[in-house]
């Protein structure tokens, strides 16, 4: 495992930032363009993961384990969020027989 990291030492931090920005943007595009509530949820997970990876990269950059502890907390939070969110989606499906978020457009006003 250590030797694997030896090979990685020349990846600039910039490239991690760009990569995470791209993944985050893909998540944003998913939220903006899809109407299926579950797919929107998955795009949010994608955004959370991009942030997690960037936190881990910065933690290595600053040689500070706090960043990785934050990632651990974000994972616990994501688990809680998914449980509550999916139960809300199940409730919405039970009431409207659909998970199209356009059915819920009265929430906009």
């Amino acid at each position: 495992m250590g030797s694997l990291f030896e090979n990685m030492q020349s990846v600039p931090l910039n490239h991690y930032i760009w990569f995470c920005a791209i993944i985050f943007t893909i998540g944003v595009v998913g939220v903006l363009t899809r109407r299926n509530a579950i797919v929107i949820f998955m795009s949010v997970e994608l955004m959370l993961n991009a942030v997690n990876l960037l936190l881990a990269a910065f933690s290595v950059h600053h040689n500070d384990p706090s960043g990785q502890v934050f990632v651990f907390f974000i994972m616990a939070l994501a688990a809680a969020e998914v449980a509550v969110g999916l139960s809300i989606i199940v409730m919405v499906y039970r009431n409207t027989q659909s998970i199209d978020i356009n059915v819920l457009n009265r929430l906009k006003w």
């Binding site: 600039p12 993944i23 990785q68």
Partner: protein, 168 residues
């Protein structure tokens, strides 16, 4: 080998993430998301964050994605009951995303942290090191997160419980 592993895995993650967003069938989206999370696990291993790699593997790929798949199959959706948004809205969304990525990368270009990532402490991401941090300075947030998980569990059970007809 050099750094090509990182670029290879990063390309794979971007491709799979795009497939998540643009797959027609939600089940395919979930499966592609599992692949994306697997590539993220590889990224954590490459950063030598072994604890995070294992947690990502177990919690995200094992628990969260199974929950997604479970709910998706429970909902008994029809073959194709996702009416697509109008093409105009899709194009506007993609343009907005493009603007966001250009803004992010453009603004971070001036920061230019171009020095390579160097692991000063080789056991930074190991369980021992993180456990000392977690049960030292982060003791209170750790205990609070257990409360958060408990309340989320109670909330999920309460939300999905069928309401009694007699009360209404």
């Amino acid at each position: 080998m050099g750094t090509s592993v990182f670029y290879f895995v990063a390309t794979l993650s971007v491709i799979f993430a795009l497939m998540v967003v643009f797959a027609k069938n939600p089940i395919h989206s979930v499966l592609y998301l599992i692949l994306t999370f697997f590539t993220f696990t590889v990224h954590y291993v490459l950063l030598n964050a072994q604890f995070l790699a294992v947690v990502n593997f177990i919690v995200y790929m094992g628990a969260i994605m199974v929950l997604f798949l479970f709910v998706l199959m429970l909902l008994n959706l029809n073959k194709d009951n996702e009416p697509n948004k109008s093409a105009l809205l899709k194009i506007v969304g993609i343009i907005a995303g493009g603007c966001l990525v250009v803004t992010l990368i453009g603004s971070l270009k001036s920061v230019a942290i171009a020095n390579p990532l160097v692991l000063k402490n080789p056991n930074l991401g190991l369980v021992e090191n993180l456990g000392k941090e977690l049960f030292g300075p982060f003791m209170l947030p750790f205990e609070l997160s257990s409360l958060l998980l408990l309340s989320a569990m109670v909330g999920a059970v309460l939300l999905t419980k069928k309401e009694e007809k007699a009360n209404g």
